[in-house]
Symmetry: C3
Subunit: 271 residues, 3 copies
Amino acid sequence: MRSVCFYSDYGAADEFAGTCRAVMARIAPCVRVIDVTHGIRQRDVLAGALGVRDALPYTPARAVHLAVVDPGVGGARRAVALRSADDRLFVGPDNGLLVLAAEAAGGIVDAVQLTNRDLWLTPLSHTFHGRDVFAPVAARLAGGLALDAAGERFEAATLVRLAVPAPRRRADGLHVAVLQVDAFGNVALSVDAGELAGELDGVVELESGGRTALARCGATFASVGAGELVLYGDSSGRVAIAVNGGSAAEALDLAPGAAVRLRRVGGAGSP
Amino acid sequence: MRSVCFYSDYGAADEFAGTCRAVMARIAPCVRVIDVTHGIRQRDVLAGALGVRDALPYTPARAVHLAVVDPGVGGARRAVALRSADDRLFVGPDNGLLVLAAEAAGGIVDAVQLTNRDLWLTPLSHTFHGRDVFAPVAARLAGGLALDAAGERFEAATLVRLAVPAPRRRADGLHVAVLQVDAFGNVALSVDAGELAGELDGVVELESGGRTALARCGATFASVGAGELVLYGDSSGRVAIAVNGGSAAEALDLAPGAAVRLRRVGGAGSP
Amino acid sequence: MRSVCFYSDYGAADEFAGTCRAVMARIAPCVRVIDVTHGIRQRDVLAGALGVRDALPYTPARAVHLAVVDPGVGGARRAVALRSADDRLFVGPDNGLLVLAAEAAGGIVDAVQLTNRDLWLTPLSHTFHGRDVFAPVAARLAGGLALDAAGERFEAATLVRLAVPAPRRRADGLHVAVLQVDAFGNVALSVDAGELAGELDGVVELESGGRTALARCGATFASVGAGELVLYGDSSGRVAIAVNGGSAAEALDLAPGAAVRLRRVGGAGSP
């Protein structure tokens, strides 16, 4: 039996995630469901795709990853299930949400379009396929159902793929985007800390929307004084901006999607 | 052994729901607890009653439904447990919260007032009967305790019942109320889509607080262009208003309780 | 096998708590994890310490209490595990978060610094020890690992301890602080109801920031009329202020940390 790892943009204010949990408990009473997050930014498929991918190393082996960020629900987008080389399963809409994770899990070895309506709930709603399609299929796969029983195979090459914003180096510095802001106000940028290895050092000028600020590079929040800006590699491996004991998003007025330019202005120890 | 489905207005910011989960785990370590929602609008008993009722088809058979929206806690209202004809159990305050669901589950066949204080926690608080009365009783019922062991039978006819707002047809259109606004800004109205079968078609004028807007009827969000209003049957079977990719509640400034008038102004395909 | 009770300031908007849940499910698939709260005020170690302590009576015997409010993550603060006289375990940062609870659980009988890196995840992040250190250790302890296997013993007397604000009696009344405001707007004060036994009666003048209001003492919200202020002993045993059907925090403009003065102005039944 597999566990289910559940990701969505349903939030905590409504019954959407809970109803899906109930559906899974009804179909597969012994399957463990792990709510990884229901706080993905609404309708932000890229944020969801990165979230599922980044969580993978921390999840049980062979889990079914049920992910729902589905602004196109009820429209033409396919419902799919994927198997990765390391025998993880991924269930959700074909809008790019699952592909980054499945590829990080060794690559996609099977792709099935969910067409076996016997597994779905009836009546089928037009706006809540999390409840009516994805949760029931995930529960059955977790309980041992063969992937092929969920529908028809198709070529993984036809899956919708997302463009992940890449950092650009220019004369005036490194141009990146804000990928995510967490509840502490920490700001994750679209560049991996690994790419800047050796450069995350000293003092960096941050510029966004005409506003500039200086941040010191450090390993953690306490690397700088209280209320000061620190540039660090976050727990997902991305370059991020924080304020020690405060909110970098507020201090710099940054939200997901904002453009940020980074320019190193001093070595370690320089002001 | 029965599962527990747990509904409340406790929210995610405090420890209220978690303390109840701990109480249940302490009393009945093997019982599965499914958090259906803790996001019911605070003190909104009707919203809670509709939420429990609407979730029923998606919950495990024979579950104990523990529901707490309890503004009269510590006062004169009774604490009760009900059994429905399909052998579901419902535990909570006698303020109307449980009756809609129990009647939808085939009708109430047993009603017991929770008077067996041996099942409660001591000391008994005056403000948190979810923790001290309802969760302990629900956990014991889930673990197999007989309903009669929880207290004394009473006539179900004496249960407090809620008035569910009914739509009214007038010369100038159909008058309804906003029942619920979800975190996506989708607005559920007090009329079932089934009642408007054949009429949810074409273009409808919406009026609320002197403000009017046109919505196209459709099956799902993508039935209209991005940013446009759609009138549809939602996943709970109610007529609802959405903006494709946006928030209808914001666009129309609607909150629970607001009065809305619907008037059909054009057939399918008309502007 | 022990259960894990999980407390943090991670909130519901991000994947932090969920990633820790996944880590524990991966390491100890059969351990039950109870999310008591992830709504502790961000970086408020005292609020967390009181929350863990207050929850204790409601949690399963011998549970592992995993608590993470950790503004000093990645810095010099120790990571620790404690055992109390009643064989509960406490895992988290050495910043005062665990001590109040462990002492309430009969006193600390063993204190271990988490130094066994074999139990941690690799690579170790600098900013998310909940995921990389505390959750893995808690899961292993819940699964049966001996406490001494997690690291080296140290003297419990060297643990960081918090000052809990104490009420002060002066000529002009009782001076207390706001400890917590819940989502209903109920305001918990830094004085135990037991300390005011016999005095929580009649009418009390509340003063904060130059603003005064009268509250009637009562047992529960419905002890006063709708919209009126009530002073009562809350479900954690503290003196608290509520508005029946409303928000005392809004009515009196109170937030955690605010100073409040209480002065009895009339006996039971007086205006």
